[in-house]
């Protein structure tokens, strides 16, 4: 989980053009980090692409913090077939 958090933090840092250190687990993407709706979609797509998973778009509403994003990604990663 620690590796997953660190990888997703790096992805988000690149998209929102901030240092990874600013993306604390509970920092709110929208109110604390200036994420807009397009960036949120980019984060969702970047996570899906990196782990070759498909996260339903209704889950986007849960992408509000690093912690929440890691939980959702972890859930779909765990459900991913091993040979997929």
């Amino acid at each position: 989980m620690q590796d997953l958090e660190s990888e997703i933090r790096a992805l988000i840092a690149e998209i929102i053009e901030r240092s990874p250190a600013e993306i604390t687990p509970d920092a709110n993407f929208f109110t604390d980090l200036g994420v807009d709706s397009m960036m949120a979609l980019e984060i969702l797509t970047a996570v899906e692409k990196k782990y070759k998973i498909q996260i339903p778009e209704e889950k986007l509403a849960q992408f509000t913090t690093l912690k929440q994003t890691v939980i959702v990604a972890g859930e779909y990663l765990a459900a991913k077939p091993q040979n997929a």
Binding site: E14, I15, E17, M38, M39, L41, E42, T45, A46, E48, K49, Q54
Partner: protein, 338 residues
């Protein structure tokens, strides 16, 4: 209705032979070539290996480090030209004047690379994993829109897509807004980027000849913007007036179109042919920076203003001409302000 006089108060240029107004004027007046080996893509397989590339361009020097990540080269070129032009004109955009300022940009081929990249990502990784933030680059009005967004300009925003004439047509579109009182100032110009996809297209259609040496027919890239203002507004803010846009003519006629466009421009300016003492043609610019299509007309306007300002040949009224093989022709008269 009294038409307002339209003057040029600022210039921003990024071209293969120079960046910035003064450097561009010096380069053009001294015939400095920007044609060089292409570094943006691999030219193995092409007989032509050079082009008018703006080397090491990233946009950061003009636009800062942030907010550029998903913008394509065309958008960064024209936004950088806008920054240079606004600085040159000392035109500050604020809450009070922003709705009276517009943007008119000529762009034709600029989105081809973005469309190809977007499609390629979908083919390689699957449509599910295409980055949604790259989609806006695939539409032709993206560069003009980004100029308005980046500089918080809330007046009209237009993209003119008329190929070889687009830059000149965009300047005229802007001129109409100003002279009929619908805008006080407009950032007007054109942009094209160099990329493998456009290079391949013009190589395969034999637009590029295979003479990879001076005198050959090279592609180029550029972002060029002039700031147009009505004379009253320019004088009120004590702007440095560089030149005046005196006339314009255009048509679509392969047979005798350019001649007719020139005649229309003279009529529009109320001038006779003997009143013109200088010409800029697209081929003159092309020989130094490569064929820049939609940026060519705006580059020529910028160069014409330089000829008037620097006065190497005691010129005070020039005609700028653009002509495309499909039949598009446009002419504009640039005069010394007096």
């Amino acid at each position: 209705m009294d038409k307002k006089r339209v003057v040029i108060t600022g210039i921003g240029v990024l071209a293969a032979n120079a960046i910035g107004k003064n450097a561009f004027w010096e380069a053009i007046l001294n015939g400095v070539s920007g044609i060089k080996p292409v570094s943006l893509f691999d030219t193995t397989g092409f007989k032509v290996k050079r082009a008018g590339e703006i080397k090491d361009f990233s946009g950061q020097a003009f636009l800062g480090d942030k907010g550029l990540r998903t913008l394509d080269r065309s958008t960064k070129l024209i936004a950088s030209a806008a920054k240079l032009a606004l600085d040159d004109a000392h035109l500050e955009i604020n809450e009070e004047n922003t709705r009276q300022i517009g943007v008119a940009i000529g762009a034709t081929f600029g989105s081809i690379k973005s469309i190809c990249d977007f499609d390629m990502d979908g083919l390689k990784d699957g449509v599910r994993y295409v980055n949604p933030a790259l989609f806006p680059n695939t539409v032709i009005n993206s560069p003009a829109s980004e100029v308005s967004i980046k500089f918080k300009i809330r007046g009209f925003n237009a993209t003119v897509s008329t190929g070889f004439c687009a830059g000149l047509d965009a300047v005229n579109y802007a001129r109409d807004f100003v002279r009929f009182g619908r805008a006080n100032a407009v950032l007007a110009g054109g942009v094209e980027e160099l990329c493998e996809e456009i290079f391949l297209g013009f190589y395969k259609t034999k637009f590029l000849d295979e003479l990879d040496e001076p005198g050959g027919n090279f592609l180029g890239e550029a972002g060029a913007i002039v700031i147009l203002e009505d004379l009253e507004s320019a004088l009120a803010r004590q702007a440095d007036i560089l030149a005046e846009v005196a006339g314009f003519g255009t048509n679509f006629d392969q047979a005798s179109g350019l001649k007719r466009a020139m005649r229309l421009a003279l009529d529009d300016a109320g001038l006779k042919k003997n009143d013109i003492n200088g010409f800029f043609s697209s081929s003159a610019i092309k020989s130094m920076v490569g064929e820049c299509f939609s940026a060519s007309g705006a580059l020529q306007v910028a160069a014409a203003v330089g000829a008037i300002q620097k006065q190497p040949l005691k010129i005070n009224r020039l005609m700028v001409n653009c002509s495309g093989p499909n039949g598009n022709n446009s002419s504009m008269i640039i005069s010394k302000y007096s």
